[in-house]
């Protein structure tokens, strides 16, 4: 049924979309959007949707709270922040929250629209759709095999207490038919497309925190987009200085090593991973490499180019190289790549000077639709 509010609601959504679009650059630059909350949703602050008032800066203001705790105890996040929010909406008007929840999927769509990204042409594999059972709710009828024991028990106990037949000394709970609760499920279609991102990053001494932050933000957006395109995306992480090793995500973004740089070590490992786990016939493969462009020697660079040409490029959807500007790096590597493999269709090269350049760089990487 159409409600009067629908008009205002859709207007608001238009504005939000407009806002997100207008501010997207800013978010990408500031990395405000990173930090997944829960499973899928993330909160995006939309600053000007809150109509500006003359008001106090909240950090200086503080307030009064209630509850356990001693002086000096920290309030956990979300607690005690100024503002109002509880189950009952009173008759007045509340404070407007600043955040709009949108799912990663929606976010990816907006990103796609904003950057005019083409949808990716899935490689080779035929789409096998599998069905998956997901337990989504509770119902009062159902097969005994799906009975939810705890809910049923609770219901029976509640009933017995209120009927006065519950005896704490002899706590026997006997459920009757009305007490029983059953799980219900839904069938979900899962398209079976396989994709993997192999992240590689140079962690040699010349990559500072600022450079890593850029890598982190950029990875987040690439990840979001590819996840939107492929259900069930896998990620692998490789860090390298003079030698390469595979690590978990946490380590990938936080390690800082020192020493020299041999990019070939990473490419070698990448090649091995692809060979071992991801046969090119059924996998969409995205190796992405970030570095400051400083390689150990021209020989090593030659080795890299060789490996790309013969082993990596023929198997992957797209090889992406992002060069982060650093005060120490020579930035030579991207020039070499451009010279030797720049004309290949599935190579994307991008130079990222600072946070502002991330926006353009994402477009470089994803603009080809591969």
């Amino acid at each position: 049924m159409a409600l009067r509010i629908d008009q205002d609601h859709s207007r608001f959504k238009q504005i939000v979309r407009g806002k997100i679009k207008a501010n997207l650059r800013k978010y990408v630059q500031q990395g405000e959007m990173i930090g997944k909350k829960g499973k899928e949703t993330i909160s995006i602050p939309v600053p000007f949707i809150d109509i500006p008032h003359f008001k106090y800066g909240s950090k200086e203001q503080g307030g009064v709270g209630q509850g356990k705790g001693e002086v000096g105890d920290q309030l956990s996040p979300g607690e005690g922040k100024p503002g109002d929010g509880h189950g009952k909406a009173g008759e007045g008007e509340g404070e407007h929250a600043l955040e709009v929840d949108i799912s990663l999927d929606e976010l990816a769509q907006i990103l796609g629209e904003e950057l005019q990204l083409p949808n990716i042409q899935h490689k080779g594999t035929e789409k096998i759709v599998t069905q998956k059972i997901k337990y989504t709710g509770i119902h009062t009828i159902g097969p005994e095999s799906l009975r939810h024991f705890r809910r049923t028990y609770k219901q029976a106990m509640k009933r017995q207490i209120s009927m006065g037949t519950y005896d704490p000394n002899n706590p026997v709970i006997v459920p009757v038919r009305e007490d029983k609760r059953y799980r219900t499920y839904k069938l979900e279609n899962l398209p079976e497309t396989n994709a993997v991102i192999i992240y590689m990053m140079d962690v040699s001494g010349s990559m500072g925190d600022e450079q890593k932050e850029i890598v982190r933000i950029e990875s987040f957006w690439l990840d979001t987009w590819l996840r939107h395109q492929y259900k069930g995306l896998e990620s692998r992480y490789i860090i390298h200085d003079a030698v390469a090793r595979e690590v978990d995500r946490e380590t990938f973004f936080h390690t800082r090593e020192s020493g020299g740089t041999m990019i070939s070590s990473a490419y070698k490992l990448c090649r091995d991973i692809i060979k071992a786990d991801y046969p090119a016939s059924s996998w969409n493969i995205y190796p992405i490499h970030f570095s400051d462009g400083d390689n150990w020697s021209a020989d090593d660079t030659r080795l890299c180019v060789e490996m790309l040409k013969t082993d990596i490029l023929p198997t992957v959807n797209q090889f992406a190289y992002g060069q982060v500007e650093s005060p120490y790096g020579s930035g030579q590597f991207i020039k070499d790549l451009r010279e030797h493999v720049g004309d290949q269709a599935n190579v994307a090269l991008s130079e990222i000077a600072d946070k502002d350049a991330i926006y353009g760089s994402i477009k470089d990487f994803l603009g080809k639709g591969r």
Partner: protein, 497 residues
């Protein structure tokens, strides 16, 4: 579509209403309507009024309410409108016990709306008035176009809190005729009348004449100043003096009127919710509850009273304070004897069996607002029992922390957060600043700085209404600064305060 009550619910309503009257609650006639959850979310988004002018922020509110309802984060139980008759909405899907609880709660609010002094000047036909506002705004939209009108509404809303919340109770600007007569009567520049010329120097010594002359001149200088004294009702000032177009004037006056209508609800949040909760609890536990409903009732009641750890829940503080007052007045724990008694044992066992509690809380609900309520009835014992504390942001740990549990500080902080809705006091001090028709505002700095970026954006909005440059004088990090926006650029200047 809103539906009337089912016969069963109507019986319940009559039952609960009977209890309310029995306890002495004095309500407007109350009309209940049943809504489905999305309709209830809609009405709640409109601030309780089913007919409101079109604006995106209702949509924003709706988005939040419906999302949080769908995710099971929160649910609106009840919605009451201060109007005669009082309108209240029930959620269709609620169980009977919930409807009873809500009805009892609603009668509490209703009684409060009718009797608390803060609401005395509110329009009791606000439902109709809101519908009129909607019509007027729609007419403007038809004529001017949605973009322009909505944009203007946004700018007005940005200034919405710049009202003088006590204005409905006070006459700030004296009648001009009367003021003139008074000033004439005070006009003694010529000195007193002298019958004998040789007495003149004694009746009207030169020093006296000079001082009178100076007084009058000061008075005149003041009158030249515009506005004569600082003006807190910025919206009214703009209505009276800003070069607005007719439709702009119309919309600004709508925004102002609605801001004044909602202001008392902000001023009495703790009391209003406390009072309603006190009554739903009293009515339910002493009258309306059936045995089989007790678990659900306890569950929902505690849900309303519970606060997120570290939060202050107005429902909880309100109901506990009313109970505390009732208890103290029942036992005679007030007055000189009580205040001067230092004997802890005597204090603990103090009970004069006066039984004045009920009568007292009825008085309190009539004559107090949140500030006076807290100021007068928040006792050290109460603060300790309720585990109240102040919190603040610790820059060193980059986290919110519990700062203090000392009673005086807790109370001061709480009162501060209630004063002017916890918002900065900002007044127009000069509308002809620098003799160039510029608007000058001053922030009464009470120890907390303004949020700078918001202040600048708000100045921009203010400037767009006033058309001439606007300046706000405030303090930042203990230094006086003047923020200025001239229509194109923001500037910042140090000033001596």
């Amino acid at each position: 579509m809103p539906k009337g009550l089912t016969p069963r619910l109507n019986d319940l309503k009559n039952e609960i209403e009977g209890y309310a009257r029995e306890f002495g609650l004095d309500c407007f006639e109350t009309v209940f309507e049943i809504l489905s959850y999305d309709e209830l979310n809609m009405v709640a988004s409109y601030g309780g009024f089913p007919t409101r002018y079109p604006h995106w922020r209702w949509g924003m509110e709706y988005e939040q309410l419906s999302k949080s309802y769908e995710y099971g984060l929160s649910k609106i139980y009840e919605l009451v409108i201060n109007n005669d008759p009082c309108y209240a909405y029930l959620l269709e899907a609620n169980a009977e016990i919930d409807q009873k609880l809500v009805m009892a709660h609603v009668y509490g609010h209703c009684d409060f709306f009718k009797n608390n002094f803060s609401f005395r000047h509110t329009n009791r036909r606000m439902i109709d008035e809101m519908a009129n506002h909607a019509t007027r705004v729609r007419r403007s939209i038809d004529k001017i176009g949605i973009e322009k009108v909505e944009d203007f509404i946004d700018r007005c809303l940005s200034l919405e809190n710049l009202i003088d919340q006590h204005a409905p109770h006070i006459r700030r600007n004296p009648d001009p005729k009367l003021a003139e007569e008074q000033s004439k009567a005070n006009d003694r520049v010529g000195g007193f009348k002298v019958d004998r010329e040789y007495m003149r120097g004694f009746v009207n010594p030169q020093a006296f004449l000079d001082s009178q002359r100076k007084k009058v001149e000061d008075e005149k200088a003041k009158a030249k100043k515009f506005p004569e004294r600082p003006q807190r009702d910025v919206l009214l000032f703009l209505l009276d003096h800003a070069p607005l177009e007719e439709w702009e004037f119309d919309i600004l006056s709508i925004v102002r009127e609605e801001a004044y209508y909602f202001a008392p609800q902000g001023q009495t949040k703790i009391m209003n919710e406390g009072w309603a909760s006190y009554w739903h609890s009293t009515i339910m536990t002493t009258r309306a509850l059936r045995d089989s409903e007790i678990i659900d009732y306890a569950d929902h009641h505690s849900g309303v009273m519970g606060s997120a750890p570290g939060r202050l829940n107005p429902y909880k503080i309100g109901i506990e304070l009313f109970r505390d007052i009732e208890d103290r007045w029942n036992k005679g724990r007030y007055g000189k004897d009580w205040d001067e008694c230092d004997d802890l044992r005597a204090r603990r066992n103090w009970d004069k069996k006066l039984g004045n509690g009920r009568q007292k809380i009825f008085e309190v609900r009539k004559h107090y607002n949140d500030i006076t309520f807290i100021d007068e009835f928040l006792t050290p014992e109460f603060a300790i029992e309720q585990k109240m504390f102040t919190y603040g942001f610790n820059e060193k740990h980059n986290a919110w922390e519990i700062m203090d549990k000392e009673f005086r500080k807790v109370k001061a902080k709480l009162l501060q957060s209630l004063t002017n809705f916890g918002q900065p006091v900002i007044e127009i001090v000069d509308a002809n600043d620098d003799n160039k028709g510029e608007l000058r505002l001053a922030h009464k700095h009470e120890g907390t700085d303004l949020k700078g970026d918001y202040a600048r954006e708000t100045l921009r909005n203010l400037q767009s209404l006033w058309r001439r440059p606007v300046t706000l004088v405030t303090k930042s990090e203990n230094k006086g600064i003047a923020l200025r926006f001239d229509g194109t650029t923001h500037t910042e200047k140090k000033v001596e305060l």
